[in-house]
Symmetry: C2
Subunit: 315 residues, 2 copies
């Protein structure tokens, strides 16, 4: 029944479903659960010290025989060390983000690694082509966490990227159900990257309090903030209100940096400090109400996709 697509071929996986390699959520438990269900699990290296990543890679090898990868934000401070571990440990798939694809793609490909880069506009799609990446994740405005300055939504972004490049495109942002997966495929995506839904799963390493708080959130409870620094979609809480007040009061970049400080995402998402922490989640959190294991999430994603596909009107 399942048709092979460019994305399932590229990664040798069963379903074109990639789990976003999110900071503080994506350890070996989540990533291996996704891979074991036939998707592609990603370790989120952005929130791991290099030796912590090595530990997760080694646990990952025990936990699954299926393909998996590592997400690396290119602004990671000890990136040389991190990339060294990735090569040493024989990681086969790397997703890079938050930087230029020109920096690391050639190096990783020399080591036989499949490279995917995360972008939010067509200009970077062309840079990805030049750098020789194997596929692109195109992430829309509705996505949680760090985000593009153009504010282009998934509905508009995927056709724009499709028009720009022949590379396989993985849609991200606003995808938390089978119907939304189908919509992404209708827009021309070859696969989807799902963040929030997996961040709020049982296997996610995020703090239970953060998960419960995000599951209880509703429409309009996230907004893109800190546009003067690096735009990031945050869930409403005390810290969010402070940032909003500072921005409305025309705070300077320095004042915003001071307010942000360091370690806010860890505090909120990993330590469960719902007042002082930075809570990163996408708009789809408003649609997610239940903490479920990855296996149950896969079952309903696939069932919903199939039923939505069958009821699409003929015109």
């Amino acid at each position: 029944m399942v048709k092979r697509s460019r994305i399932t071929e590229l990664f040798d996986i069963e379903y074109p479903i990639i789990q976003g390699g999110m900071v503080w959520c994506s350890g070996w438990r989540l990533a291996s659960a996704v891979s074991n269900e036939g998707g592609l699990g990603l370790l989120g290296a952005g929130s791991m010290h290099p030796e912590v990543l090595r530990e997760h890679i080694q646990k990952m090898k025990q936990a699954t025989t299926r393909p998996w990868g590592v997400n690396v934000p290119l602004l990671y401070p000890q990136i040389e060390e991190l990339m060294g571990i990735i090569v040493e440990e024989g990681v086969k798939i790397v997703f890079t983000s938050a930087g230029s694809p020109a920096k690391w793609t050639a190096h990783l490909k020399q080591h036989g690694i499949t490279v995917v880069h995360v972008i939010a506009n067509s200009r970077f799609a062309r840079k990805c082509e030049e750098a020789g990446v194997d596929a692109i994740v195109a992430e829309g405005f509705e996505a949680g966490g760090h985000n593009g300055r153009e504010e282009t939504t998934t509905m508009a972004l995927i056709p724009l990227i499709r028009k720009t490049t022949k590379l396989p495109v993985i849609a991200a942002g606003g995808i938390g159900s089978g119907a939304q997966m189908l919509a992404a495929m209708a827009l021309g995506a070859d696969g989807v990257q799902i963040g929030s839904l997996f961040a709020l799963s049982e296997e996610s390493s995020a703090h239970e309090a953060f998960k419960r708080y995000a599951l209880a959130s509703g429409e309009g409870d996230t907004l893109l903030q800190l546009k003067q620094l690096a735009p990031v979609r945050l869930l409403r809480n005390r810290f969010f209100e402070e940032v909003q007040k500072a921005e409305q009061g025309c705070a300077s970049v320095e004042e915003l940096k001071a307010l942000l400080g360091r370690g806010r995402a860890k505090k909120g998402m990993f330590e469960g400090d719902l007042d002082e922490g930075e809570l990163e989640i996408g708009q789809v959190a408003a649609l997610i109400d239940e903490l479920r294991p990855v296996a149950a999430i896969f079952t309903s994603l696939l069932a919903d996709y199939r039923s939505a596909r069958e009821t699409l009107p003929l015109l």
Copy 2:
């Protein structure tokens, strides 16, 4: 071949395609062309003096025998007079926007008029149900012109509205191609409302200079502005830059109102003043490159929808 849907039944039209009743674009030429192609054309009363609307209604009756309607923004100053003309002239379908559906729905329905209300969040979907409207237009963040404060995109909004109400839902925002129509249907919409694509058609009453400028625009060239007054998605031009500068400089509501002044949308979109005018268009303008007649637009919308539908992967 064509399946009847709740939207084609409700309006007695061939395709579930509604043309947004946009200010300065949607006179009888555009609306009748859309209705004659089997969609639902809407006169945009928001930019018409009451007697101008009467003239357009009368021309509309000459130009098509197919169903059509009128869009009325509820903050229209002489709304009593306008609604009087709508009833007198025997208009059958009214789309209301920018206000509470409780205000006029009962009155219009007493006169046998089908009423649709435009919303941007689930809270208003419930208000629409209470007011007794016949269908809802749910408009996402990517749409041109006036927009919701929650910034919920079409990908997230349609499933949220679908979950809230059993009323027929028409998706709007980010829909300018058959693939995007298909995506909206995948999200659970019963039909689509298309704005920018028709605003930039040959039959649109917008100024030629505005059309050319919007057709030449690209990704990231629109942003949601004037959030302190009423959020509106505008195309980058000199006025846009002035607003951006004022907002970044923490201008007060009074200063922004003074900067906006009156008649900016008319100046930009109808008179073609590309420097001083307010240019309202959606994110999909970046995907539209060609000025085409409505008939050609329908042909490609339907062909693209069908081919996108056929190539959706089985999972």
